[in-house]
């Protein structure tokens, strides 16, 4: 195992401990793997459990607790160069292996041999344990309602998408684009395209989506009898790349697409 812990006090390195056991303990008492002889440290203060190349830090209900990178934690999944602080001690976690290994190696599925065993999981349990993900609230999707008849003006696209905080972590260097409604009662409203996929229209009736891809934004017709048009050109069923100041017309509503400068 290439991972190790470097123990220091006030920036002065005291010693190094290679992570060579599945479970290493840190504490004041002599039986610990890493002994910190200081009254601020509990007898058994913390443990580091390592499974293959992943290490987990766990607070063993210590009196004074511990911090990782300045944040108090009870349990932590160690990342290379994390610094654990216990009293006046700092322990830095170094794991070269993560950097040395080719990321592609991790994509190959491999089997971890285990005895064939029957896991009695009930269906409900299985569902409970896996995460549930809801559709983002409609406030975040641009709901351009399709008028039931031509006379009714389209209902509103809701308020601009939520704060930039919801911007995807995967956001590329791509400029943020915005769609502004030009006609109808909501003329002037803006919608920032912060998500990878923004729906225009109403599922089941008339839908087009604006997708953000690494090389630009695309509009695609999804369903509905009438295809939307861009700059007066009716779309085919293929995605159409958007350019700055293109005008989209969907279900009688015009909107302008532009990049935020």
């Amino acid at each position: 195992m290439a991972a190790k812990l470097i123990l220091s006090v006030d920036g002065v390195v005291i010693n190094e401990h290679p992570i060579n056991k599945e479970r290493m303990t840190i504490g004041r008492k002599a039986h610990n793997d890493i002994i910190l002889d200081n009254l601020a440290v509990s007898g058994e203060h913390a443990a580091i459990v390592t499974i293959l190349n992943d290490s987990f830090l766990e607070d063993l209900d210590s009196t004074n607790g511990l911090e990782v990178n300045g944040v108090v934690v009870k349990k932590h999944f160690m990342q290379p160069n994390d610094v654990i602080s216990i009293g006046k001690y700092q322990i830095k976690y170094i794991n070269d292996q993560a950097n040395q290994t080719n990321p592609a190696d991790f994509e190959k599925t491999m089997v971890l041999r285990a005895p064939v065993k029957q896991v009695a999981t009930t269906a409900t349990e299985a569902v409970e344990k896996t995460g549930k993900f809801g559709i983002p609230s409609t406030a975040e999707t641009a709901q351009v309602a399709v008028p039931a008849n031509a006379a009714t003006a389209p209902t509103t696209p809701s308020a601009p998408a939520s704060s930039a905080a919801s911007a995807q972590a995967t956001a590329s260097a791509l400029q943020t684009a915005t769609v502004q409604i030009l006609t109808g009662p909501n003329a002037g409203k803006e919608l920032e395209l912060v998500k990878n996929l923004t729906t225009l229209g109403k599922p089941g009736v008339q839908v087009a989506v604006l997708t953000r891809r690494p090389h630009g934004y695309f509009i695609t017709h999804v369903e509905g009898a009438v295809f939307p048009s861009v700059n007066g050109q009716v779309l085919t069923d293929k995605p159409h790349q958007m350019n700055d100041h293109d005008v989209i017309e969907l279900a009688g509503v015009k909107m302008e697409f532009y990049f935020k400068g």
């Binding site: 992943d54 987990f56 971890l112 269906a123 569902v127 993900f133 809801g134 996929l197 599922p203 999804v222």
Partner: protein
């Protein structure tokens, strides 16, 4: 209504942006409401061989058996429904074929595959899986994973040593604890769920859910539920846009109407005439 007419099934598979060949296999037997997806592993082309065997054995055997029998019939000895029994037996059969091929051909040594299969009948779906290929369900606006991976990471999450948030950064994503064809026996996990009209079921290999967040899968399926082929294309495109480091395969099944199995002698006669 016949299951064939009640379901809309779309499948698509793609090698991704990095791999030169595709080790995933998919099969859809619309006539009996069966979908199967497998993600093979092993050197050279062994992964393709393993997933190919798994999918063809499972799909063909089940389709063949269901030509003359109904999945709601109960087995005389165990009292289990035939649908569930067929899934379990045929995943086991696929396991034996792969295991024997791997034993007899040196170039296939150690090959194996994950599998996820769904058999739709009588307003229900029987789901069998081994490994980390998943089935998701979009119902109303909520996407849920209805299979639980047989992987080290899932075990770490279950035992509480790692949070779902941290799991995204784990290096152990690719370690499965159960696979088809590795040992002489395999235990497939099988559950039966009720389906509702409007549900969309997504079967995918880990090339999809490792590359895109569940939130994005949910948003895509919801927005494109009216156009399944486009939804499948979009999901694969998103995985490839995010790096496409693995083969990516999806099967989408949409429930268009109810498909209760015919019961009683009258329904059976009608059914017999329709055959």
């Amino acid at each position: 209504m016949k299951v064939e007419d009640a379901l809309e099934i779309v499948s698509q598979t793609n090698p991704g942006m990095v791999r030169s060949h595709n080790e995933d296999s998919v099969a859809c037997e619309a006539a009996c409401g069966l979908v199967v997806l497998a993600d093979g592993m092993g050197g050279y082309n062994a992964g393709e061989v393993a997933s190919g065997i798994a999918v063809s054995v499972t799909a063909m055997e089940i389709a063949h058996r269901l030509k003359n029998t109904s999945p709601v019939e109960r087995d005389e000895t165990t009292g289990e429904e035939l649908g569930v029994l067929l899934l379990r037996d045929n995943i086991q059969k696929a396991n034996a074929s792969i295991f024997h091929a791997a034993q007899s051909q040196p170039q296939y040594t150690g090959m194996g595959t994950t599998i996820v299969a769904g058999l739709f009948y009588d307003n229900r779906v029987a789901v069998g899986h081994v490994g980390d290929s998943r089935m998701y369900r979009l119902r109303d606006e909520v996407l849920e994973s209805i299979t639980r991976d047989h992987s080290l990471l899932q075990e770490q999450i279950d035992s509480g040593i790692i949070s779902i948030e941290d799991a995204r950064h784990s290096k152990n994503k690719n370690l499965v604890t159960r696979a088809v064809g590795i040992d002489a026996e395999v235990m497939a996990e099988i559950h039966v769920y009720d389906v509702q009209v409007g549900d969309i079921y997504l079967l995918c290999s880990d090339g999809l859910n490792d590359m895109i967040e569940d939130e994005d899968i949910c948003a895509t399926l919801y927005a494109m539920q009216g156009n399944l082929p486009l939804a499948a294309e979009q999901l694969i495109q998103m995985a490839n846009d995010n790096g496409g480091r693995d083969n990516v395969s999806v099967i989408l099944v949409k429930i268009k109407s109810e498909f209760a199995a015919p019961r009683g002698w009258f329904a059976k006669v009608i059914d017999w005439f329709n055959k």
